[in-house]
Symmetry: C2
């Protein structure tokens, strides 16, 4: 068990330094490495809880690497090198404005526990099988970063929703899917243990961001030419819940694993 550094609250620090509480606080250091922090649970998203519950600025204090979505299910969220990017429903990548928030995301302060060359792979499931051989920590969360070149990438994003929200597997039927050839960029991945089913996406969850930060999306398939894999095993998992209230009315017990698999892996109606 990695020893966790005890924390001191900033208000205490401010007091010790006699800095008035209204002074701009120095930017706090990143969260402890090896802690994966997730906002809400995936089944809350499945039942249509798309309103943002954490500001993006606050999310970035919990980690510099990760993925999720934005309020109103407004596209795919990618956090890379401490910066948040939105892949809009039309596939365009934008910086996330300060005022946005997220209903579901998972981030960590990426600190590589190991790295290796990325195997060449013709399909995403082939890549995942090879990674499973290299990363046997099946009961841990593992953040995986692959900077590489790709012969092709099939991606999707989801269109912004307005209340009353429909369940995610209905919304995903209207997703945009597109394939891009000859890409260079980063796969931002998280492998969650099977025991976290219902709370996060079990197995691999991949978002792609191109090197020029202009294209990306939720990855449905890819053909890897070459690249470098870095991984970070997370031995601490923090789940931040919505305030008590409407959240407690959601049915988070029903098994939605089949619907989730469909949402995360299928090409939907296949239209571009």
């Amino acid at each position: 068990m990695g020893r966790l550094l005890p924390k001191i609250r900033p208000c205490v620090v401010a007091l010790l330094l006699s800095v008035p509480a209204c002074s701009p606080a120095p930017r706090p250091p990143a969260a402890p490495p090896h802690r994966l922090t997730q906002v809400s649970v995936i089944d809350a998203l499945m039942v249509g809880r798309y309103d943002g519950v954490m500001p993006i600025g606050e999310l970035l204090r919990h980690g510099d690497f990760g993925l999720g979505t934005l309020d109103h299910l407004d596209g795919e969220l990618i956090v890379l090198d401490g910066k948040a990017y939105q892949v809009r429903g039309d596939g365009v990548v934008e910086d996330v404005p300060a005022g946005r928030s997220t209903p579901f995301a998972a981030v960590t302060t990426f600190a590589a526990d190991g790295e290796r060359d990325c195997p060449k792979a013709d399909r995403l499931e082939e890549l995942e099988a090879r990674l499973n051989e290299a990363l046997p920590q099946k009961n841990h969360f593992v953040a995986v970063r692959i900077d590489g070149r790709f012969d092709s990438l099939t991606m999707r994003s989801v269109p912004r929703q307005e209340p009353p929200y429909r369940p995610l597997d209905e919304v995903a039927k209207g997703q945009s899917v597109w394939t891009k050839a000859d890409q260079e960029g980063t796969l931002v991945g998280l492998r969650s243990p099977a025991w976290a089913g219902g709370l996060n996406v079990p197995g691999y969850h991949w978002h792609f961001l191109s090197r020029d930060r202009r294209t990306g999306g939720h990855v449905l398939d890819c053909k890897v030419r070459d690249g470098r894999v870095r991984h970070d095993v997370c031995g601490e998992w923090s789940v931040l819940l919505e305030p008590a209230g409407a959240f407690d009315e959601a049915d988070l017990v029903k098994d939605r694993s089949k619907e989730l698999h469909r949402v995360e892996s299928s090409r939907g109606d296949g239209k571009d």
Copy 2:
């Protein structure tokens, strides 16, 4: 989502205050309220992972209220008012020595979100039904503290195990069960949401510690005369995992809910 205070590491504080790193650090303040921190997941205990993975001293930095067990499954662990108590297999309560550790525990810094008189109840399930009416936060973790008087309490504890460890539902068959009349003391309770099944004990989990700290145990049933209920809704849930290795060989996917219910609620073979 309750805003989480950003954390500053003590080493940074020490630097700011120009305190040499070797000086004895002041005792860090407690973990943020409303964070429930658990060591490992309940299904790891179910499959016999009884070796301690976190020192008790470290556990107490994560909270002053909670429950669990000790290394070697050596009885019931109770954390109350910042102090750790062991209920041995024979029902005797002892302070936990500094050298001990825990394979499974859940603690929080108890800060009451509300309090009320404890309803009179002839059975534990009657008490729980009344608490469910009063505490509708069904998708949150809720720590519950009841200081009261009890006409009777039926409790159990488990005997220390030696490797190779047997699964918990086998060990629990050899538990000691006893009933005490006319008790005054504290019920230390945690209600976990149903969606946390497999990771913590879904529903209520109660340990009792007498006012004189001489008797206690895992509560199987009780008859409440009167008392005061305080509860603390936890909107942040942290799971601290064992290091990668043997932990990743455990099958934490199989549904063990029936075995768990038997372990947590049944009087076993009924012997005292």
